[in-house]
Symmetry: C2
Subunit: 196 residues, 2 copies
Amino acid sequence: MIHQPLIEHVKKQVNASSEDLLLFTTKLREVAVAKGKFLLQPDTFVKHEYFVIDGCLSAYYLDQKGNKNIVQFAIENWWLGDFDAFYNGVPSKLYIEALEDSTLLAINYDDLQNLFQEAPIFERYFRLLVTSAFISQRKRILSSLGKSVKERYLEFCDKYPNINGRVPNYQVANYLGVTAEGLSRARKKLRELKKS
Amino acid sequence: MIHQPLIEHVKKQVNASSEDLLLFTTKLREVAVAKGKFLLQPDTFVKHEYFVIDGCLSAYYLDQKGNKNIVQFAIENWWLGDFDAFYNGVPSKLYIEALEDSTLLAINYDDLQNLFQEAPIFERYFRLLVTSAFISQRKRILSSLGKSVKERYLEFCDKYPNINGRVPNYQVANYLGVTAEGLSRARKKLRELKKS
DNA sequence: TAAATTGATTGACCTAAATCAATTAGCTTT
DNA sequence: AAAGCTAATTGATTTAGGTCAATCAATTTA
């Protein structure tokens, strides 16, 4: 069943009954995005949050100078969306692009609000999601301020296992805030260290 | 009345009735922290979130090497606490230290849960708080990855107006992820630019 | 007032990573 | 296999910011 990975994800976080889980699945809609296509583009109102069943996507902003700034990759079992736009009803500024053909589950804002009423355990589940996203961002800040490229790359590999080879390194470099050349050299040094 | 600044803060975010607001105030407790004292230290369980009425505090972690990493300053009208520890019931890893004699309002976890039951509008208020904290952190990541010290300092001044002179620059430097010398030079260049 | 602390600034030097330019390695497509 | 892309790597050079040490300024303490 397509919902299974998400059910497992919920179960890892909270103690939900079978009825709760069943109710949840009735609110989910399956979405497919082909490689290179966009799940989300700026200046749209965001009605859904997404859970990745299969595939790989990246979320990024363009800055004043038109430079791409990747804020998140999402692979299997990651939630993805634009919190700000989704919860606060403001137009999104985010691009979400599929780097591979991807299959997602989507939940609609109103359905989610109803779910909170009908099965309050999900209030807790989604709060835990936001909180851990917050913590993980904080970690990324501390890392970007104090750590070397080598260290940040290692943390990246830890945070996104299984992503190796699926995302071109120049995109990983963008996420890490370094140039493609910089990342290449960092990876080389790590290879040398490992050998000795 | 001491609660007034917080009431105003709530009113700016959500449409709460007088009864809601009154109920809220009954759950708040006043807390004073003297300069140099700690509101929070690692390995404690966090039962409160705090709103700054008056004063100035900083929140920081120590990394593996024992280096201080300031993640937040809080002055009048800022919320402050450890989301992770507070909501997830894990021991805190954060230090919160008063940089000036400070007066805060505290809300207890259980009281907050009751408040959500009794006046659900606060559910929305606190969700907006977390979301905007999340957005603001995201901005800080993009800034720390792509911007120069000069740019980051200007953004800092924008984010924390009225903080000038109240926090020593070497602490601001720490927050920005540069050395005190680095910040000093950046400020000098900005002064020169402004003159011409 | 002198002495001591604490924070800010400056100078000399160094290093990690950026930039620019070229080369190489993997691929598709023909 | 040749041609054409795209991504990754390498080399040469530059630069922002770090490090270390000294000085200066402003408070606090004696």
